[in-house]
Amino acid sequence: MQGDKTNIKKLYALSSENRRFCFPQPLKNSIRIGKREYEVKLKHDEKHGTYILWKNRKYPVEIIRSRQNRYEILFNDISYTFSVETPFSLKRRKVLKTAIGKPDTESVKAPMPGKIIEVLAREGSTVLRGEPLLILEAMKMQNEIQSPVKGKIIRIIAKPGSNVMKDDIMVEIKVE
């Protein structure tokens, strides 16, 4: 962490869809909506597990993953991914982003453990976003795994008939 910690007056949570949420630092256990402050409480009990109490309603929360400043939060059964930035890191991020641009390869990972039934894509071919790459069977359902990006297929690691674990890389795509 760079800079004097006590100097940080704000923190930003950037969503994967690039929505920005700004919170004052030190972080308060209340959130301002318009002119009113509403209390947020993080609680835990035997019946509900961990939850957030907000405007008299309980919302189930789980931390699915945390790595450095990136957090995947399950909130009311929906997952959200944020990167939390200080004003300094946000600025640096912007500079880096214009310098490098988008990441150039995308790894398609197995969303769940299962068996590869069919590989539809071919190495070297170009795929559009949403184009089916392969069929993964899990829990009696055949799931079509689609390309998250437009690009060229560099490598297909998944082989028909093989089993994959969750998060195994199946296909690598060069983003175009």
């Binding site: 962490m1 909506i33 939060i73 399950l74």
Partner: protein
């Protein structure tokens, strides 16, 4: 008695005087919520039940509902026990069960299994092997429907031998067409073809898929009905030839032919159409000498023309919505009929009262295209309201395992009419609390707020065509999640005595860690 039933298989028109036999002990050849469901009715009927314990789910909830548990956990067979005909017959004989209930899935629509039960003097709680076989083969079913005067979508007479024949038939009936597996079901081996350039490829894919899924590559072709509603009729018949229908269910909310939500009745039917379709369903059942509970599925197009699709020869996942609006226990009817009793229902006495909606809460990740999300259920609180019926085989501590389907619970909500049921459904969904896996809850929360769904004017194309977002999240929810992420960041990076816990491996924060956190704020 059993020899006579065997005759039925080959001569379904022969009238037989059945000998009645009281069922005293049922082996449940199934697991999960349907095993629990069957055992609940058996208990009311004072019939003992036997459940099979497996190594995959040794602590499953359904076991606690059984009178007798047969421990099969040391079975080292390659085939799961619920698909192992020889093993199930052996268990039934050893436990002296006089009947087997197959539930749904597994061997429920396996004619050979039904015949094996009969051969071993065990009552199969379901239709005759003959009915199962005929309705299981889609081209035979089509032929029977045709000769019984049941409306059918135009199609091929029997299986297609090659792509040239496929093109010729498609040209004759007109595109779009759908290629279906002869031994199919559940959406597998189906391909929609919109013009002749796609035919060759789709024909080969469908055949290959059918071969993999059903061990039978035979496919046939039907005219594809665009944007239909899926309407099915519950029918119940006895061995004397009495058949009634219990009204319809609408199951148009589907994803890749997998049903997600069902309601009864359907807002698309009026009394006239209901009577015509109901009568057609009964005719279809009669044409195969059907007894026990069954479902005749139709597609209903926008001009209110309906076409026979298939008949399911088992109890269905969505049977509770029919039970709620008719007050009839379908499992009880299945058992009575299996005992050889005469139907105690009369068509003109069956009334559809109110409205019922079933939401299938599955362990699936709606945000990842409904991918299964197996895992352990850590917390589960379900609504306890007079307007809610819950059918589940899962409790806190249960695991949703990749070997079986991903159903956690069926939330069946009733109301005086559709509007009332939808209002109750919205309330009930907010009272469902499940932690441990992702679920289809956000999908249903979206659905009960969707104007097109609320209007009742939706078709099987609803998910594909009318939705751009598959889940509901209110405007503040993402902000609250952002606040939580930020507070975790503060703890890990900006506090001097930060608690560097590893969240990577656990989804749930431990209470002690949480208390520390709360104290720090």
């Amino acid at each position: 008695m059993y020899i006579i039933i065997k005759h039925v298989r080959f001569h379904p028109t022969i009238k037989i005087n059945y000998i009645r036999m009281k069922i005293r002990k049922i082996l449940i050849a199934n697991r999960g919520e349907i095993a629990v469901r069957i055992m609940k009715t058996a208990k009311l009927m004072k019939i003992k039940t036997i459940a099979v314990k497996t190594a995959v789910e040794p602590n499953a909830m359904y076991l606690s509902h059984a009178d007798i548990i047969f421990d099969n956990s040391d079975d080292d067979s390659e085939i799961p026990v619920f698909l192992n005909i020889e093993r199930l017959i052996e268990i039934a004989l050893r436990t002296k069960a006089d009947a087997i209930h197959p539930g749904y899935g597994f061997l429920a629509e396996n004619a050979y299994f039904a015949q094996k039960c009969i051969d071993n003097n065990i009552i199969f709680i379901g239709p005759s092997p003959d009915s199962i076989y005929k309705m299981g083969n889609k081209t035979i079913a089509r032929k029977i429907a045709e000769s019984a005067g049941i409306p059918l979508a135009l199609g091929s007479n029997g299986k297609i031998s090659d792509e040239e024949e496929a093109v010729a038939i498609a040209e004759k009936i007109g595109y779009p067409v759908i290629i279906k597996a002869e031994s199919g079901g559940g959406g597998r081996g189906m391909r929609i073809v919109r013009d002749s350039s796609e035919m060759e490829r789709m024909f080969l894919i469908a055949g290959k898929e059918a071969e993999k899924a059903f061990n039978d590559s035979s496919v046939f072709i039907e005219k594809y009905i665009e944007n239909p509603k899926h309407i099915e009729f519950q029918i119940i018949g006895d061995k004397m030839g009495n058949i009634v229908h219990l009204g319809e269910r609408e199951c148009s909310i589907q994803r890749k032919h997998q049903k997600l939500l069902e309601e009864a009745p359907s807002s698309a039917l009026d009394d006239n159409l209901r009577e015509v379709m109901g009568k057609t369903a009964i005719d279809m059942a009669r044409a195969v000498g059907y007894y026990s509970a069954g479902t005749v599925e139709f597609l209903l197009d926008s001009n209110r023309n309906f076409y026979f699709m298939e008949m399911n020869t088992r109890i269905q996942v969505e049977h509770p919505v029919t039970e709620v609006i008719t007050g009839i226990d379908i499992v009880e009817q299945q058992i009575r009929i299996a005992e050889g009793k005469e139907l105690d229902l009369k068509q003109d006495k069956i009334r559809l009262k109110g409205w019922a909606i079933e939401c299938r809460i599955n362990a699936e990740d709606v945000q990842a295209g409904f991918a299964p999300d197996p895992g352990k259920i850590l917390k589960m609180n379900l609504p306890n309201e007079p307007y809610v019926r819950i059918d589940t085989g899962v409790q806190p501590g249960s695991s949703i395992v990749a070997n079986y389907d991903s159903l956690i619970a069926k939330i069946i909500v009733s109301g005086a009419d559709r509007k009332d049921a939808l209002k109750n459904c919205k309330m009930a969904l907010d009272k469902v609390w499940i932690k441990g896996t992702k679920t289809t809850l956000p999908f249903f929360r979206m659905l009960v707020r969707n104007q097109k769904f609320l209007s009742g004017d939706y078709t099987t194309a609803f998910l594909e065509k009318d939705l751009d977002k598959f889940y509901h999240s209110s405007e503040y929810e993402e902000m609250l999640a952002a606040w939580l992420a930020t507070s975790l960041f503060v703890d890990e990076n900006l506090k001097d005595n930060s608690i560097n816990a590893d969240y990577g491996n656990s989804r749930e924060m431990s209470p002690w860690l949480l208390n520390k956190r709360i104290n720090q704020f």
